[in-house]
Amino acid sequence: MMLLPCPWCGPRNAGEFKYAGEGGARPDPATTTPEEWRRYLYFHANTRGWVTESWYHGAGCRRWLVVERHTLTHEVRGVRDAVQVAREGTR
């Protein structure tokens, strides 16, 4: 069982969350080409190591979270509320 330390609810079973993929800056819709949109939506780096990801705690606080997870060991070293991250512009 994998535990994710939700900043609102505490450690919870990963089954309570929905994995929403690798995080990253959303392209500007006004200037992005269809090819860039396709790459943003469907292509992933699939890194073996530390990755910043988006998770949704659907069975808990119903907040979007930014999770730093090691894809090899599943170690988690940071979980923050996505709203807070967006406000600070630190993603």
Binding site: C9, E16, G58, A59, C61, R62
Partner: protein, 219 residues
């Protein structure tokens, strides 16, 4: 020929057998004799408040995320639950939802924040698991640590209970351990059956509607 109109009876998603009518709701007429019981509390008024989690609305409501309080917001005794960040669930006596909604709107009107107050009474299911076996039964269907040190009386949380997203509210009654379980109406009968199944070895019995049993005290 005279025309008569029968009074409308509201029904919980949880089938009541044998049934009786209380405050316009069809409820179970059973009266359990055992110590551990499961009761359908769906007739309680359920009003949801959404507002910024850390602003004036939170101060006006007086309850933070993860905690509960028995209070009176102007419509009689209610249980105010901080069910999620920026989300409060208010439970009141059957039939008080319109008054409760108005009272909450008046209380939040002066905050200057964008808030919403919604009556969910007929859209949700609510049940109470009470008695010495309540912890054992609940532990069988959810992964939360239910020890007093982690989830004491007055704790509110949302988690997966028997794979159903459920608000779990610890609301002890006269010192007896008691949990209110609140979920979507469409999952109500399933969650009820899952709890009865989990409680079959602990002699959990079905009993009739209890209502808000605790004496009012802030926690």
């Amino acid at each position: 020929m005279s025309e008569t109109t029968a009074a409308a009876v509201a029904r919980s998603p949880i089938a009541a057998s044998p049934a009786t009518v209380l405050d316009g709701w069809e409820v179970s007429a059973r009266a359990a004799t055992g110590a551990s019981t499961l009761s359908d509390e769906t007739p309680l008024a359920k009003v949801l408040v959404r507002a910024p989690f850390d602003g004036a609305s939170r101060k006006a409501l007086g309850v933070r995320f993860g905690r509960t309080e028995h209070t009176d917001v102007g419509s009689g005794e209610v249980l105010l639950v901080g069910s999620a960040p920026g989300e409060w669930l208010t439970l009141g006596a059957p039939g008080t939802a319109p008054a409760l909604r108005t009272a909450l709107e008046e209380r939040l009107a002066g905050t200057g924040e964008f808030t919403s107050v919604l009556d969910l009474t007929h859209g949700r299911a609510l049940m109470r698991l009470q008695g010495p076996a309540a912890t054992t039964v609940l532990a069988g269907v959810c992964a939360i640590d239910l020890a007093d040190t982690v989830t004491p009386d007055g704790t509110a949380l949302r988690t997966s209970v028997a794979a159903v997203v459920t608000d779990v509210v610890r609301d002890d009654v006269s010192g007896v351990r008691s949990y209110l379980l609140h979920c979507e109406r469409s999952s109500g009968q399933y969650l009820w059956d899952a709890l009865l199944d989990a409680g079959s070895r602990s002699a959990v019995e079905v009993t009739g509607f209890r209502g808000l049993g605790s004496a009012g005290s802030a926690r």
